[in-house]
């Protein structure tokens, strides 16, 4: 059974492409490391800690993201950075999303 976080019910499912889009959008503003990236995504959508790692791996494989290590307090933090290809993909997602949103809105508003 799927657990929901305290009361804030998420009605709609977040599919893989939309999750990819969210990650790319967050990283288009600044490079982030795993923990903060997860926190930022979790502010908006209800995903578990373990969901994000495979997404990041996939985006890296598709050359939408690259990583680099930065020393922090005697250890390394792995930062994720969006690539040109990632930005292109994000633009595609944005267009797709606004079209999708419009058509769903028009359906939902039809009754009014």
């Amino acid at each position: 059974m799927k657990k929901r976080k305290e009361g804030e019910a998420v009605v709609f499912n977040l599919g893989a492409p939309l999750l990819d889009a969210c990650v790319l959008a967050v990283l288009s503003k600044e490079d982030l490391y795993g923990y903060v990236l997860t926190q930022n995504i979790q502010k908006v959508v209800d995903i578990s800690e373990s969901t994000l790692y495979p997404v990041l791996r996939r985006l890296q494989k598709e050359e939408c993201l690259v990583t680099y290590d930065k020393p922090y307090m005697g250890r390394n933090r792995r930062y994720y950075q969006i690539t040109e290809q990632g930005s292109k993909k994000l633009d595609e997602y944005k267009q797709e999303w606004s079209q999708y949103k419009k058509s769903i809105d028009s359906l939902l508003d039809e009754g009014d």
């Binding site: 795993g34 923990y35 800690e49 996939r58 390394n76």
Partner: protein, 202 residues
């Protein structure tokens, strides 16, 4: 034996995750472990502290990592037989990593084993036939060239036969190589589908 409600500490989580992933490619495993180690460190969770609730199920975390690994190998078309075989290994391991009842696991494993053996034996048969044709072709050719006593037409007849068989042998080998690669690819996908179904059931 300790109680079931034993705390899932960061130390224990990392240790169990490593155990679950130990048969997968070292590079991929190291990357995943590093990610989770860094994540927990940044979350301010010490080695003896409990991990977040979502991470309590190491099986779930591991299966998500494995699913991505299997996806990776079967979406890259194998460029060589060796690569194809490593894909088969990863897919096979992912099935054994899935938490299902043991009898079902044994049954599925036996079935898969049978399929793999069948395909392997068919491929081996093909290779043997090709090798047979090639060897007899070479023998025919060489012996016809060495036969001095034969009549003119006789020499050309056996020389022709020898060359034909050699050709068939070479063609057979050339046909077998893509067939072997294709089989590895197919078997990987088969495993992927099966492990997907098992996960859905579990």
């Amino acid at each position: 034996m300790r109680g079931i409600d034993e705390k899932m500490t960061r130390e224990k989580f990392m240790c169990e995750l490593e155990k679950k992933l130990k048969r997968f490619p070292k590079e991929d495993v190291a990357d995943a472990l590093e990610f989770y180690n860094e994540y927990l460190e940044d979350a301010g969770i010490g080695m003896k502290d409990e991990v977040p609730q979502e991470m309590e199920s190491v099986d779930k975390v591991a299966s998500q990592i494995i699913a991505e690994l299997v996806d990776k190998v079967s979406s890259d078309k194998p460029t060589s037989v060796k690569k194809g075989l490593s894909g088969v290994t990863i897919a096979l391991l992912s099935i054994f990593a899935a938490p299902i009842a043991l009898p079902l696991l044994i049954c599925v494993a036996a079935l898969i084993f049978a399929v793999v053996i069948l395909i392997a034996s068919l491929l081996l048969t093909g290779l043997c036939i090709s090798a047979g044709a090639l060897i007899s072709g070479i023998v025919f050719t060489v012996s016809s060239l060495l036969t001095v006593a034969g009549t003119g037409t006789g020499i050309f007849f056996s020389l022709g036969m020898g060359l034909i068989f050699t050709g068939i042998g070479i063609l057979g080998f050339m046909g077998m190589i893509p067939l072997i690669e294709w089989s590895c690819f197919g078997v990987t996908n088969l495993f992927k589908n099966i492990s997907g179904k098992i996960k859905k059931r579990a």
